[in-house]
């Protein structure tokens, strides 16, 4: 299973970035904690508009099944749902912390966005 976690860094011990669209990195890993890719998201994070939609595309194009982040706005959420990506929000700590929580089934999947649209 491919998991994406928004992160301040590129490693398993990096802190979770609470932002989705404007996250510094999007770390792609498997359920065993092996980092498959750390996507530099700086191009999106500096985008004028639509950062969340583009980040959703980054995640969907890599066939990720579960995205873990802090906040997810309505446009990003709609895009992730369209791609069939499950979303976990309001997470903090390190990438490893959230992976452990996920593996213990200690998190619930979001059924709606938890942030307002940005203008």
């Amino acid at each position: 299973m491919k998991i994406a976690v928004t992160s301040m860094g590129t490693e398993i011990h990096s802190q979770v970035d609470p932002r989705f669209g404007r996250a510094r990195y999007i770390v792609i890993l498997d359920e065993n904690g092996t980092v498959l890719e750390a996507v530099d998201n700086s191009r999106n994070s500096n985008a004028l508009k639509g950062a969340g939609i583009q980040a959703a595309k980054v995640v969907a194009d890599r066939k990720v099944e579960v995205l873990v982040t802090g906040h997810c706005g309505p446009n990003a959420f709609r895009a992730l749902q369209a791609a069939g990506v499950k979303v976990v929000v309001e997470q903090s700590g390190t990438v490893k912390d959230v992976l452990d929580r996920l593996n213990r089934n200690g998190v619930a999947f979001a059924d709606q966005p938890n942030a307002e649209a940005h203008w």
Partner: protein, 292 residues
Amino acid sequence: MTPMIISVASGKGGTGKTTVATSLAWVLGSTAQLLDCDVEEPNCHVLMKPVLQESQPVAVPVPVVDANKCSLCGKCGEICRFSSIVVIGNQVLTFPEMCHGCGGCTLLCPENAITEGGRELGVIETGFAGPVEFVHGRLRVGEAMSPPLIRAVKHRINRHKIAILDAPPGASCPVIQTITGSDFIVMVTEPTPFGLHDLKIAVGAIEDLGIPLGVILNRSDIGDGEVHGFCSQKGIPLLAEIPHERRIAEGYARGNLLVDSTPQYVDTFLELFVTIRDLINGNRPHLEETKS
């Protein structure tokens, strides 16, 4: 009388753009057309009291995708700078509220799967205020994007008249959309640190457009002399000064034009127009050539 386009802008809000634009239009009478481009909060009509004869809705074209024709090639999403259309998973999503209406996706789609629908931006209303031709735009409540409506207001510019454009405050896209293509920009400011701060930002944004500009100092007898200093340092002409007078404020509070509440300013505004016209002529390169 040569047709021309004069924009009235400012950095800081509430400095007197509308006061200047309306009185300038009024003294020019039937030779003038006043266009209120502050579509988020138009207010020229409050002072001008026009009889509005026509109202026309304005929409921006947004993509409508025929999923049966779409091959999910993704070209539409690649051209879109605003992520208002994206191929994700096995479908194409549109975010019409984010679309700027450039039409790029429609043009690029190899399957001709995209047609153009419309998102209503607001209305344009036109009429006359006495002899002055009047146009303004009113942005729909809830709409976040004003430049396409400002563009539509500017399509109504009468090329046979002196068009006076009342710009929104600030120095961002709506201001640039308004003033681009003008022959002259009147910057209205006040002699305060706040006025100067925002004037600097606006002048910085406008300078690159290469349009001649001048400053009107409103409430000129308050504050300090820093705006004077900035203008002389930058070589920006000071076009007029309007002092902080109770009569002007009272007239404004009643919804009266400056030139109505204080008629001695009729000459000030006529002189202002002559100054602007001379500055425009002096700044036209082809006229420089014929002189030499």
